[in-house]
């Protein structure tokens, strides 16, 4: 149930609009349990239901993912447009306007980047959930569903995140440019600074990282298909975690 709990926590932390788009892990588990205890008459029906649910979950992921992807494509382009227009306006008299807009763009673009990464995380965690539930199924029913099914999943749109990855990189490059604007060097990032960030996305991201780490710390069923532990410098993460907690928003 560990994954289930972690998933639940992720879902709670996530962007509200996304909450019902995640894997219905619990339901699937219930079905697997049902299958294994069902009398043989009901068994095939339960199995059919399981498969049906699996497929409809995948549909759900795909639809949501592609929709978000589409939106991200549009928004990235718009952000770049905004940036371009602000930069060209930079040399004109109302510089205050320029500066304010620049801040807004910076904030927006960082948040946008965050959202895209969270979508990748969405994809990843759902995949993990699927892999786990399939493993459970095979274990409980002695079936051989996992391998072929996971093959199919690997090809699904929601798992082929190459485009999003590309967008993220593009965004990062753009951000480099945005933050090139000369800044004073004082490094005074205190707790107040963190409060200024878009709390939800930031929190989400940190939570996602934490969850990932936990998930990969190994389990009792560590096997050839399990992922190795993450190599993440603990210091940064701890710092980030620390920063998110006591901020009076």
């Amino acid at each position: 149930m560990k994954f289930g709990k972690r998933l639940k926590r992720q879902v709670e932390e996530t962007i509200p609009a996304w909450r019902d788009k995640f894997l219905s892990y619990k339901d699937l588990k219930k079905l697997v349990r049902l299958i294994s205890v069902a009398p043989s008459s009901a068994e095939s029906k339960a199995e059919a239901e399981f498969i049906y649910l699996l497929n409809s979950e995948i549909e759900k992921f795909n639809a949501f993912f592609m929709e978000q992807e589409e939106e991200f494509i549009i928004r990235l382009r718009e952000l770049k447009e905004r940036l371009r227009s602000v930069i060209t306006a930079a040399n004109e008299p109302p510089e205050a306007v320029y500066a304010a807009e620049m801040w807004r763009i910076r904030k927006d673009i960082v948040n946008f980047h965050g959202e895209m990464v969270l979508l990748e995380n969405y994809s990843s965690i759902n995949y993990t959930g699927l892999a786990k539930i399939l493993k459970k199924y095979d274990k409980r029913t002695g079936g051989l569903l996992r391998l072929p099914f996971i093959e199919k999943v690997l090809k699904q749109p929601f798992f082929t995140t190459d485009l999003i990855s590309k967008l993220v990189k593009e965004c990062e490059d753009t951000i480099e440019a945005v933050f090139q604007v000369p800044q004073e060097d004082a490094r005074s990032g205190g707790p107040e600074a963190v409060a200024a960030t878009e709390q939800s996305i930031f929190r989400n991201t940190v939570a996602a990282l934490a969850t990932m780490k936990e998930l990969r710390n190994g389990s009792s069923t560590y096997g050839q298909f399990s992922l190795p532990p993450m190599s993440l410098p603990d210091i940064d993460l701890a710092q980030a975690l620390q920063l998110t907690s006591p901020i009076p928003s």
Binding site: A100, G223, L227, P228
Partner: protein
């Protein structure tokens, strides 16, 4: 009806100024004797469309088979047609008969043509209202009907009143087709409720319940009319599902010429923008006795519904093309889906895709990055900032920088993880293959030398030490030879190699649950 005669009728219709066509197709299963040029109504429509483009408004009716409806409906969807779907869900001896309509703007003087099957000749009749009586024949009714064939089985009109309308009607006859009086009581602000079907009252109007198929489109174009014909003007469609009864026309068309399965793209796309201004969809509960699923839940938020099922995966290049087209048309406000679609000239792109994309585009422009994704709009710290306040500016920059760091970290990790997952599965496949080959080899050997002792090769395969593979309890993880893992390991990044090394270093352990807490 033969192809030729169908065409002939169409031409006449054109000439005569008829704009609405009721296209009927008779299921050959029901009437084995008839010959059909088309295999389905869709074919018929497909045929009509390219020949006459958008000249005609086509109504289609009477699908006995619901699943067929669904399939064809989807096709209509993807061809970019606007349509409204009326599903008349009346249980009539376990039959559900939907009526599907395709709607197009029709001009004021629309009349109706029903294409009929007639062994003698084709007749173009203009009818104002359809009628059905319980005797099992239809009589399209019209006063000024040229060339009325007795084949058409016109019967006298049975005036239908409200009571009749509500009652499920007419049993299905096993013979030639089913007859159901069709009437729509039209509830809504604009019109009176029941129409009586009489000879004298040509203004029967339908108010089909529109389902998801109805596209709410730009109110820019709302050109519809329907006067006295079966096709109802859309503004009469309300959210109220009025009682509907399906009318199935007996006279159907079509002789058996080969169907031309034209690719959907050949259709003139971009009709949707011409759809009349509809009211949003309504919910329709369909008692499905035939046991078919049709998830007809129409989202009431018309803006978000996308009727087209085939999902389009957009790319930046495609979007670029889109933006260019939009700009050419004068900007996101002025551009219409139809126009954009035409300009883009992309195969497989439908009006629905363009429409929904355009909507997203508009939203993105006019509410820049106040996305629905973010739950908090953290506007305040920045709004108040006078940009000259360096210190706050610096703090904010720091915060953003930190945020970026974390995000980048997560992104990086996700990438690594994904690649690992892919590799792992690839390995799994490879091993599985190897195992199967081994097994096969063994079986062959066994077959070849069945009298001999147990095959040593078999044991070898299963007992090779697996230092890479920690113990596990998954049934399908086949024992493997360590060497086999060398194969797929070609293109690894350094971090991945490290990860695999870690895998090596972590021998199979049964972790105590307490450990995980410590690691937090």
């Amino acid at each position: 009806m033969s192809l030729a005669s169908t065409d002939h009728v169409l031409v006449i219709a054109c000439a005569v100024g008829i704009l609405n066509i009721l296209a009927l197709y008779e299921d050959p299963q029901k009437k084995p004797g008839c010959e059909n040029a088309f295999t389905s109504t869709i074919d018929l429509v497909r045929h009509i469309r390219p020949t006459h483009n958008d000249y005609f408004s086509i109504t289609v009716a009477s699908y006995p088979d619901f699943s067929v409806v669904v399939a064809e409906l989807r096709e209509f969807d993807s061809t970019g047609k606007s349509f409204s779907l009326s599903i008349i869900a009346i249980e009539i001896k376990n039959i559900i008969l939907p009526t599907i309509k395709e709607k197009y703007p029709a001009l004021p003087d629309s009349q109706q043509v029903s294409m009929e099957r007639g062994p003698r000749s084709e007749h173009v009749t203009s009818c104002h209202t359809p009628f059905v009586s319980n005797s099992g024949s239809i009589g399209p009714l019209f006063s000024s009907a040229p060339g009325f064939s007795s084949d058409l089985h016109f019967s006298s009109v049975a005036p239908l009143d409200r009571q009749m309308i509500t009652a499920p009607l007419v049993s299905q006859s096993s013979e030639s087709g089913m007859w159901f009086p069709l009437a729509q009581s039209h509830s809504g602000a604009s019109q009176t409720s029941v129409r009586k079907f009489t000879r004298e009252s040509p203004d029967v109007s339908w108010s089909p319940v529109s389902l998801q198929g109805v596209i709410d489109n730009d109110s820019a174009v709302s050109n519809q009319v329907q006067s006295n014909c079966i096709m109802v003007s859309d503004d009469k469609q309300d959210d109220i599902w009025s009682d509907l009864i399906v009318d199935e026309w007996k006279e159907l068309l079509n002789d058996p010429n080969s169907t031309d399965t034209q690719p959907k793209e050949a259709y003139s796309l971009g009709q949707a923008s011409n759809i009349s201004s509809h009211q949003p969809q309504t919910h329709l509960a369909i008692p499905s006795h035939s046991g078919e699923h049709y998830a007809v839940t129409s989202p009431t938020s018309a803006a978000n519904s996308s009727a087209a099922k085939p999902r389009m995966r957009w790319t930046p290049e495609l979007h670029e093309c889109f933006v260019e087209a939009v700009n050419q048309l004068g900007g996101s406000e002025k551009a219409t889906p139809k126009g954009v679609l035409k300009l883009m000239k992309v195969d497989g792109l439908t009006i629905y895709h363009v429409k929904s994309h355009l909507q997203k585009y508009r939203t993105a422009r006019y509410r820049p990055d106040s996305s629905e994704g973010t739950s908090e709009k953290n506007a305040s710290p920045l709004e108040g900032v006078s940009s000259l306040d360096l210190k706050t500016g610096i703090e904010i920059t720091e915060a953003l920088r930190l945020q970026m760091e974390v995000q980048k970290r997560l992104h990086e990790q996700l990438e690594i993880q994904r690649n690992l997952q892919l590799r792992i599965e690839e390995q799994g496949r490879y091993l599985q293959m190897m195992f199967e080959q081994q097994c096969k080899g063994n079986i062959d050997k066994l077959k070849a030398s069945s009298s001999q002792s147990p095959d040593p090769t078999n044991t070898q395969a299963t007992e090779t030490p697996t230092d890479k593979k920690p113990q596990d309890d998954a049934g399908d993880d086949s024992p493997v030879s360590a060497k086999a893992t060398e194969g797929p390991k070609q293109n690894k990044t350094r971090t991945e190699t490290e990860a695999i090394d870690i895998l090596d270093e972590h021998p199979p352990l049964k972790r105590i649950k307490g450990n995980e807490n410590d690691l937090q």
